[in-house]
Subunit: 368 residues, 2 copies
């Protein structure tokens, strides 16, 4: 009688293998992680810090001196420094570990199952009155409640994760650790961890150029040296930003074999499979039938912003009866159709004549 609801989007790149496997397995990993917590999550008292050797298959009631084998002993000092851990943070930890195990499974099965490429993953889990939205990649989730937009994720791209990537590159290949421990081969001799506002030309050697390193959010000038002529770790802006000229998202599942074109430099050490999990407590608010959670891949958000999505949601929902179950599917369909646009002489065009999305577009509209 203990269940969760689950929706997820997997936006593959460089092949569909990783995305397809993740779509068939991620929820099983989440289920597996939550299974161990069933009794703890249903018990209103704080989760126990320590459990006996193996809880699987033990009687439902885990805690109390009789059940966990621990006899209260006044001689044992009390722990003064014991952190309070919430039920919510256990669910977050379970989802985080499920993403890791999913990534491990793709790594293990990629040869035998032919799983090229990788995928962004955005999952929404409804459990015990709360939505847990886990995002690793550049998909996006928003809640629209009474016309208000509540962001439920942020995108992980070379631009948003610049400092994490630069920090990693510098530690591994450059000057913060002693010579004997450096691993220049990880970044390759072809790349520099510094960011410049544009590529530098060899004739500009000796001039001063704006740069940012891993510790800076602002910019400063530096004299251009030979090393600065290398290709930058992160290059390009917006949708065109890439890590080592190869990939435009910095979190997701798979990509274990991804290398920089015609080189032996692996990209995976720079990618992360850890999702950011945000929580929305449904019990804190009164919701009406027009309040929804929207999940969409970047194909949607590249051409339709949060406000426009909210507008379409309201427009379409009001044209259906509040108890018509298909109204949410119709919103999702309308969002896809409008973001693709109409084929005109000069390509696919949106209602405002801008270019439609050439990317794949997947959308969930989930009533709250």
């Amino acid at each position: 009688g203990f269940y969760f609801h689950y929706w997820a989007l997997f936006d593959g790149h460089a092949g569909s293998g990783a995305a397809v496997l993740a779509s068939k397995r991620l929820h099983l990993h989440i289920c597996e992680q939550l299974r161990d917590l069933v009794d703890i999550l249903q018990d209103p008292s704080p989760p126990p810090i320590c459990l006996p050797h193996d809880t699987r298959g033990s009687p439902p009631k885990l805690r109390g001196p009789q059940d966990n084998g621990e006899v209260p002993n006044d001689a044992v000092p009390r722990f003064h420094l014991e952190k309070a851990v919430s039920h919510e943070s256990l669910v977050i930890g379970a989802i985080e570990n499920a993403f890791k195990l999913m990534d491990d499974q793709i790594e293990r099965e990629r040869a035998s199952q032919h799983l090229p490429g990788g995928c962004c993953a955005l999952a929404a889990i409804y459990l015990m009155g709360k939505f847990y939205v886990a995002n690793a990649g550049d998909s996006r989730a928003i809640i629209i409640r009474n016309g208000e937009i509540i962001p439920m994720s942020r995108e992980f791209t070379p631009e948003t994760e610049r400092q994490r990537l630069q920090f990693l590159a510098l530690w591994l290949s450059h000057c913060l650790i002693p010579q004997a421990f450096r691993r220049p081969e990880l970044l390759g001799k072809e790349f520099t961890h510094l960011e410049f506002p544009r590529r530098i030309q060899p004739k500009e050697l000796g001039k001063k150029m704006l740069y940012r390193d891993q510790s800076m959010s602002g910019w400063a000038y530096k004299k251009i040296e030979e090393d600065d002529l290398k290709f930058p770790l992160i290059y390009g802006e917006g949708k065109k930003a890439r890590v080592m000229a190869t990939i435009g998202v910095t979190r997701g599942l798979g990509d274990h074999d991804l290398k920089v074109f015609s080189s032996n430099i692996h990209i995976k050490p720079f990618l992360s499979c850890s999702p950011e999990v945000r929580v929305y407590d449904l019990t804190q608010y009164e919701h009406c039938p027009d309040d929804v959670l929207v999940l969409g891949t970047d194909g949607l958000w590249d051409v339709t912003n949060d406000q426009e999505v909210a507008g379409v949601v309201m427009e379409v929902l009001t044209s259906y009866e509040p108890n018509d179950p298909c109204r949410y599917t119709m919103v999702a369909q309308e969002l896809v159709v409008r973001s693709r646009g109409v084929l005109k002489e000069r390509g696919w065009r949106l209602a405002n004549d801008k270019l439609g999305s050439g990317d794949d577009i997947s959308v969930f509209v989930i009533p709250l």
Copy 2:
């Protein structure tokens, strides 16, 4: 005729040397960094991406084909990917680099000048209509405008920087890089990068305990192994949290010689001298004489929260004429006095009978 205003707090630990030197030098480093930007910051057009070899001592007008030696050439391809860099981000970069240079100077002079210890640094720079608030440590700045509280900094402590520290520890000493490149000596054999809600007892080996690693914000259970009995990288809660049982702040200047007690493990690689810089644009709002920026060391904020500080600010300011220049000093004095409390039989007590701050307390109240 180009000047900035500057206020800063340096809260020393393990000796006053680093704090005193920083109080005498940080503004000179900031001045030096800004000096190179004088002409660029006064020119309303976007900062040039690239400058000629040396701008120091060159004529005031730096840009334009005559001055920078670059001749416009239609044969040179235009740069399609050129990032726009704002004047504001140049000032932020200048302040960030000034903190780095200050830290370098403490490292160089620590032997000859006898500069033990380190310090938190919180600096407010007013330049061309904007306040730049740079924070490295656990001091805090808030703006109080029309009774509203606007945070201008966040604290950097073992708890707020847990994942950065765990990530670093893991990369350097554990399993993410090949055996040959690991540096277990950096973390020492005595520490584990994992976080547990409390210390584990040897008799708990084999049981399951809650933990978090560098990639998790939630908690999960793991079986306790020998390695988990080591002392945790981060231990304790709130004001008692410490990195390797040694230091309670994770950003600041100095601490180059700081080691874990009776060991050869250096703490400095885990500390950062990079400030977070927040910007407040004074020209965006109408300010009244009661609108202020408050800078305070942790001695203030440990016992007096943002709302209480705002209350004291309003209470004291209304008891003076709006044009009385000493009213701001009186607020600062009142904040210190109230946070220290009064010596009673059971120690220094606040008005609400809670313990007063036993720490040093420094406060600036700056009219906007």
